[in-house]
Amino acid sequence: MKKLFIVLTLSLLTVLSFAQEQKSISKIPAVALKTLDGKNFNTNQISNDGKPIILSFWALWCKPCQKELDAFNEHYADWQKETGVKIYAVSIDDSRSTAKVLPLVDGKSWEFEVLLDPNSDFKRAMNVNMIPHTFLLDGKGNIVSQHTSYFEGSELDLYEEIKKLAGVK
């Protein structure tokens, strides 16, 4: 009987905590960043008219990050047409390299928004330990999923999630 109660208690707790988790909203924190042309940009301005958002942390010294963003860029026009997804790439390069970010972004013809986080304030606030680290947000700005590391083809899994979020088959 005692055991039963313990099991019951534990299972109830689990259910309740799960319910709580589903309800709890994980919004992104408000942090001051810069755009590539030096404008101030607060992360609470990240939005996409109710459509999905990708938030990806990268740096100039991180090869897999750039491979991931190259892969996103290749599909971006199609992805936007089908799901309306918007990509924000957050560079955590410090003042050593911030001047090299814009030439690289333009040199690679990346089409998405690039933001600068020169003292890693946003990286810390989002609990990013290693890059690349990519978040998927729903139209209301809630964090739906996150993923660290990039391998060839990972972008296809992410796109399946985006389609699900956008209600596209």
């Binding site: 009987m1 005692k2 109660f5 313990i6 019951l8 208690t9 109830l12 309740l16 709580q20 709890s24 909203i25 994980s26 919004k27 924190p29 001051a32 042309d37 030096g38 404008k39 101030n40 100039l60 010294w61 991180c62 090869k63 290749e74 410090d94 003042s95 050593r96 390299s97 001047a99 090299k100 814009l102 030439p103 690289l104 333009d106 040199g107 690679k108 013809s109 020169p118 003292n119 890693s120 304030d121 989002m126 609990n127 990013v128 330990n129 290693m130 680290h133 999923s145 996150q146 993923h147 660290t148 590391s149 990039y150 391998f151 060839e152 083809g153 990972s154 296809l156 899994d157 992410l158």
Partner: protein, 551 residues
């Protein structure tokens, strides 16, 4: 007994269902990481029982949690270095909560108490930050206030003491830091200019350090002031940034207790359009080490950050000789060009071809020797515009990346390097390293989720340890698994006994924001740099485990 359980059960249900608003509507997230190394004896690398010295296991770990509710947030970070992984500062050994903070923010005001990180402008006179892989953390413990009284104006004020490993701040144990920064974004301030092609941001900051003078010999300044001004100017696709910092006399262990002022200048000019971008950077540093304890000369308690402007390399052999800023004096330039040969052109092919060219050189400053750099004097005087013939570092590199079809893509890179190993790594009298490095990184995606990546690198040099070759094969199953085999071979070492292989075998599993990686093998001796700070990595042999997760 049963009654107790029922009571607990009922009260738990009651508690959770009518959970308070600050629990229900709050967000809790955090992250966790542990890096472990298990060492073994490896006679070929000179790692004997006495080198390991009983420390068979190194464990660096942290866990952090952040709670936010509306405009309020608070967090804490726990760290345990028991004992630190080899190559980390031995003062790192310990465990506890080095970082605890709370903050409240609205559109107009941010208040933070506890441990925090901040940067003024480019960091020339103030930057506190943290770099886990290096074990570097100069967090400020104190208070910070950020005001945004009207659109376009940001004012920051702060004071505190800096983190020094596990040593608690006590009266006069180290300096106190105070700072003020103001920035005006004219295009946000003046409505008419909001969509103007010309964008102007101007900023100014001041930092003061207080440390009591207990020196029996010298009359040391107890309050050291530093000032900096900066301008960001954008005209369409053209960008210009400059920042100049000055520090009053601050005799320290780093500058050999000389009394002259410190100066730092950082400027950059860039132009870019779709498919093409260039940037040119220059900097000059003279006597600009700024620490909250004048007696310290190691990598700790830095108040400011002097960015090295050369490229940070990402492949193992191109990163073998990294540059670190010389705070006592240096002058450098850096040039970067990125170009994408358009899709559909003859050289561009179906996907386009990317080209990146980068050059940087850093020289010493010219010093006349009036005072022969003697402690207690001004040390020397230096012409601001004169460049010394002594080259610390030069790097020319070119990258080409190309996707051939859906299955094949490649990156090739060439690098030419000049590296003053005496100045940069403190080696006793040795010739500067002149090296050529070439590499190819080829990816074969044979299925949409499966691919194999090959890396081949070679480094040619007659100096230091001679030639190196490196090879790597990596098999990945997206987005979950990776398996790597790699080897670095020092085949050109003059000492035939030291022509070692540094092989590794590695595997990892990734699920969402969690990653587990295991690596077995040898690690070559070298310098690991992230941002401006470097750490000596000793040769090691054994098993490395890294587990990380975010939630």
């Amino acid at each position: 007994m049963r009654k107790i359980y029922i009571i607990i059960l009922v009260s738990l249900i009651g508690y959770t269902t009518q959970a308070q608003d600050f629990i229900k509507n709050a967000t809790i997230n955090g992250s966790f990481q542990v890096d472990g190394q298990f060492y073994q004896v490896d006679d070929a690398l000179g790692i004997t029982d006495s080198v390991i010295g009983g420390k068979r296991i190194g464990l660096n770990g942290f866990g952090k949690i952040t709670y936010s509710y509306g405009n309020f947030s608070a967090g804490m970070r726990y760290e345990a270095f028991l004992s630190p992984i080899s190559g980390f500062d031995s003062r790192q050994e310990g465990s506890g909560f080095p970082n605890i903070w709370a903050s409240y923010h609205t559109d107009m005001i941010d208040v933070t108490v506890g441990d925090f990180y901040e940067q003024f402008g480019n960091g020339l006179i103030l930057r506190s930050y943290e770099e886990w892989t290096l074990g570097y953390d100069n967090a400020l413990n104190g208070m910070r206030l950020v005001l945004r009284p009207m659109p376009g104006i940001t004012i920051k004020g702060l004071y505190g003491s800096q983190r020094f490993f596990w040593t608690k701040f006590e009266r006069d144990s180290r300096g106190i830091v105070r700072g003020l920064d103001a920035e005006v974004d004219f295009n946000s301030l003046v409505k008419k200019w909001e969509s103007s092609k010309v964008r102007v941001i101007v900023g100014a900051s001041g930092v003061s350090k207080y440390q009591r003078d207990t020196d029996p010999l010298y009359n040391l300044p107890e309050n050291v002031g530093a000032f900096a001004g900066r301008v960001n100017l954008n005209v369409g696709k053209l960008g210009f940034m400059t920042e100049y910092g000055n520090k009053i006399n601050d005799p320290s262990a780093t500058n050999g207790f000389i009394y002259q002022d410190g100066k730092a200048l950082l400027s950059s000019l860039s132009y870019s359009q779709r498919g093409f971008g260039v940037s040119l950077q220059m900097k000059r540093v003279q006597n600009m080490s700024f620490k909250s304890d004048r007696g310290i000369s190691s990598n700790a308690l830095d108040i400011n950050f002097l960015p090295p402007i050369n490229r940070t390399h990402a492949y193992s052999l191109t990163a073998k000789y990294p540059y670190a800023t010389q705070p006592n004096g240096e002058m450098g330039v850096q040039f970067q060009m990125n170009y994408k040969i358009p899709k559909g052109s003859k050289l561009g092919g179906k996907y386009g071809t990317g080209i990146a060219v980068n050059f940087s050189q850093v020289n010493d400053i010219v010093r006349d020797t009036i005072d022969k750099g003697e402690p207690g004097t001004l040390g020397y005087s230096s012409d601001f515009f004169k460049v010394s013939d002594a080259i610390f570092f030069r790097d020319f590199n070119i990258d080409i990346d190309k996707k051939f079809n859906a299955k094949w893509k490649a990156v090739v890179q060439y690098m030419n390097l000049y590296y003053d190993i005496v100045t940069l790594q403190g080696h006793p009298k040795e010739d500067a390293v002149k090296a050529h490095i070439a590499l190819a990184d080829v990816t074969w995606s044979f299925r949409s989720d499966k691919s194999v990546r090959f890396e081949l690198q070679n480094l040619w040099t007659k100096q230091d340890k001679g030639n190196w070759a490196a090879a790597l094969v990596e098999y990945t199953i997206a987005p979950t698994w990776f398996f790597t085999l790699a080897d670095q071979y020092n085949y050109g070492n003059k000492d035939k006994e030291a022509r070692n292989h540094y092989y590794i075998i590695s595997a990892g599993y990734i699920k969402d924001a969690s990653r587990i990686a295991l690596t077995y093998g040898r690690q070559s001796e070298g310098v690991l740099c992230v941002g401006g700070v470097c750490r000596q990595v000793p040769a090691a042999s054994g098993l490395t485990v890294t587990i990380t997760t975010s939630f």
